[in-house]
Amino acid sequence: MQRRVIRPRAGWEKTVEEQGLIYHHTNAGVYWDESAFYAFTRREIDELEAATNEIQRIALEAGQHIIDKNRFGEFGIPAAAADAIVWAWNAEPPAIYGRLDLAYDGGHQPKLLEYNADTPTALLEASVVQWYWLKDTQPGADQFNSIHERLVAKWKELKAYLAGRLYFAAAEDVQAEDLMTTTYLRDTATEAGLETAALLMKDIGWDATARQFVDLDNLPIQSIFKLYPWEWLVHEEFAPNLLETYRNVQWIEPIWKMLWSNKALLAVLWELYPNHPNLLPAYLDGPRDLTRYVKKPKLAREGANITLVADSTIETKGDYGEEGFVWQALAPIPIFDGNYPVLGSWLVDGVSCGMGIRESAGPITDNTSRFVPHMF
């Protein structure tokens, strides 16, 4: 694993915009950063792929354990949602994608930092934009990336299973990242032959007479992909209606993803698989014997409310932590020219299929981190 500096393509902003990446800059500066790339060996890619599939395997075991032992309270999951989670876990409604965040340096086994199982983003850049970057700059090289084909294949498989039109819903975000991610996913479904429509979360209607969710034309919603976290959905005004009708609607991702998108999963995994080569020690009740660790909210986004304890202590601000925290051993994130890369390893239909890299100036990945392409 190497970090190599390269001259960005002339007019790269326009190029990536044409590919849908209109959020190539943030308020903090560049987001899509093609002034460097990461080069891997085939062995390293194989190792990452195998680790991703292995973590998926043990995450499935952990999910079953959480349900069997009724550990929802430790995840801060409201009791009202438990029945729907158990039902969905057993019924196995459609689940499309997820992203493992891994610490990896090429010399040691990849270590799981967290599982973004419900609303993973940085998808378009991983699936499409870095692929075209590779074709433009390293045409003879390869890339760990079959995300697009896997998405299309999964939608094709679901075509006979999904009822009615498939809606793609997101909230309006300033950067338009969520809207673009949802639009990209919608395009993959359209390419697979599904009838699709776009919808904002706030425009989802509740028809109290028919007791069903409806779109802006008052047509019933039977199948919907939402880029909106379950931990928010189950606390919003429509939550009782959502849980009442959950079995009548195909919600993608399904509600059981609350078990994986919660950092309490890290502690349950370590409890079930202590000393697993792809896990870091993690606990729900404090740092125990850890001296270098990260205290993470069970539910948080964009690196908020993190406390990193090592030679010195770093804290980030935010509004999360109400559900409690997880203490995880500090990961051995490598430093390349002062940059800290975290690997986002993608799964579609539960199978490893690609990677995107977020690079930060410090040890905490947040909303100022940059996306850097890769090749092997």
Partner: protein, 125 residues
């Protein structure tokens, strides 16, 4: 397989154009809708009125006070809410259509029950 493929250029170009034109705007083709109406006024009413009329045994000259009112695909944007007058040009029926996908419209859907927590920030992770 590690190696990826060519993503169709038309796909990403369309995606970018759609995004730059404000993201979510395309709602696909319009579907027909049906709603229960007061036949005297052509005002949309709750569907329970049509259900009750359906339960009334018809006599020889019975004209139901309430009927289902059907609009074909592509003719009109939204089904009117309760209390709104339906536009002319639709067809009355004593029974609702069962052809899918049809909205049993005429009821007012409540909106805004989702999305309040995003506040303009990304919901992604």
């Amino acid at each position: 397989m590690k190696k990826s493929r060519a993503v169709p250029l038309s796909l990403v170009s369309t995606l970018a154009l759609a995004a730059l034109a404000s993201g979510c705007g395309s709602f696909g083709r319009r579907e027909g809708w049906q709603t229960c109406v007061d036949r005297d006024t052509n005002i949309a009413v709750d569907q329970s009125h049509c259900d009750q009329d359906w339960d009334t045994p018809p006599s020889g000259h019975y004209i139901p006070h309430y009927s289902w009112y059907y609009y074909p695909r592509g003719y009109y944007w939204n089904a009117p809410g309760i209390g709104m007058q339906v536009p002319a040009g639709g067809a009355y029926s004593r029974t609702p259509s069962h052809s899918a996908p049809m909205a049993r419209s005429g009821v007012s859907a409540v909106r805004g029950g989702f999305g309040s927590r995003a506040s303009g920030h990304s919901s992604g992770s």
